[in-house]
Symmetry: C2
Subunit: 316 residues, 2 copies
Amino acid sequence: MTAVPTLLVLDAEPLPRLGRLTGRVRVVHAGADTLATLLPTADVLLVWDRTSYAVREAWPGGGPRPRWVHSAGVGVEHVLCPELVASDTVVTNARGVFERPVAEYVASLVLALAKDLPGTLGLQRKRMWRHREARPLAGTRACVVGSGPVGRTIARTLKALDVVPAVVGRVPRTGIHGPADLDRLMSRADWVIAAAPLTRQTYGMFDARRFGVMQPSAHFLNVGHGALVVEEALAEALAKRWIAGAALDVFAAEPLPAGSPLWGLPGLVVSPHMAGDTVNRWDELGAQFVELYERWAAGRTLLNVVDKQRGYVPGR
Amino acid sequence: MTAVPTLLVLDAEPLPRLGRLTGRVRVVHAGADTLATLLPTADVLLVWDRTSYAVREAWPGGGPRPRWVHSAGVGVEHVLCPELVASDTVVTNARGVFERPVAEYVASLVLALAKDLPGTLGLQRKRMWRHREARPLAGTRACVVGSGPVGRTIARTLKALDVVPAVVGRVPRTGIHGPADLDRLMSRADWVIAAAPLTRQTYGMFDARRFGVMQPSAHFLNVGHGALVVEEALAEALAKRWIAGAALDVFAAEPLPAGSPLWGLPGLVVSPHMAGDTVNRWDELGAQFVELYERWAAGRTLLNVVDKQRGYVPGR
């Protein structure tokens, strides 16, 4: 590399700390409005705002464009447009930063539902002492849908609490069930946990038929993508008591509109897409990008390379 | 044993299932009002109501009395009166039934506080989407006060979630800190968890001085006994933000009166003494008593024998 490379950052607060890269890259900051103009001038694009769909809209067709796009999140459906998929631009993601926080968040929801913490907090507001019986968690069964690092970390975390987990992925392999086992595993599970990438195969996969397969005592959780779930079908399953309860951290439309019926659905916990977001994540995401940049600048193989056809980092 | 032994049951709903003992014991049911009259006629007393202090009040002095008292709970301070302590009557408890449920309950509270689930549920009621940042749980430090089976099971469960636990007991031994380490461990902990028996040494041990030792970011949890805590001191510590939050499942007076300021204290989760109470516990408690009865009737050594001087089952 002869010239100083241009690093374009699609901004979000707080801005990334690029520490060691100071003076070695020319950093240009972009917003959704300036991205299209600046993209052809950049060598590297850091998609620091992981909620924006600006990249899909602004990506240049065949002309000059970044050779590497890094997304500071796990899902990349907000980045991948057909032209980017078809190009030789490499896309990487933040695998390694979010797995454990998401798994802890799932554990917090599963335990809160088993111990009826929402009921306890509701009674506390009314200053009512009403003893209830909690469910034991140990020995219950979880069906984790999604066999990527997040899904596998969720399964491992639940297993540490003596839950019996089963993981379902796109392709059956050692320790991972294939899609053919999904209905059977869902019908036995106490906890069905959606943690799959959003693909053509997974879009809307949790529909009325699948909620109908679940046990009336079972709970459904989604920490993957809102569009995995047919929200009307979940609302119906809760209203008709096909299932005991649910917790959603992701939604088809975010932020969830104030008028959405989901806010007030009995038995449903609504949280604002925060499962993976811990106080220390910005530092971790910055450090991870700096490490990847060092590899890229040295001409070494990048890590966390997304299979652009599939929409996620394959394997392990 | 020549005659059929008389088993007196201090009742609570649902009544114990004594299955295998049918026809082998004469079962007499007592309430708080009839206990004093019936006690001298009984060979065995099953204290099925673990909230009643009736045994302390009704226990006969030196005359005929049960040779064995079993309490279907862990704490026995509601059973032990000086006359019973001085007598040769054996007291046993329900060790083994409540440990894991209590540990799961503690994990549910710790995770809920780390992920601000109370805040999420409060915002949901207002239909407000407000993203917040959760704390990572892994790598945080817990100080578990109480080295009995409950305290040790709490420590083991938190460790499975990659929390770093330290256990404090009455006597230092392998893996257990003594009282001399308490302040130092509390001053470093992210989570201070009270799970000690109620004794002269532990009564009111969590007072203003001890809350003052804790970190401003730390949380206090009590699943042991209400009287371990000076409640006014905890209220002050929360109001003055000496600590970040707390969760109490046990109280000096239960049920907590509707007028108690604790109900409305910001940062405090109040639950109605339910940590150990899972839906399946009655069956487990009944089966445990039947098993102990078989040993007693066969003249074998009882298990879970309480050291009446200390007020709990010693050791392991």
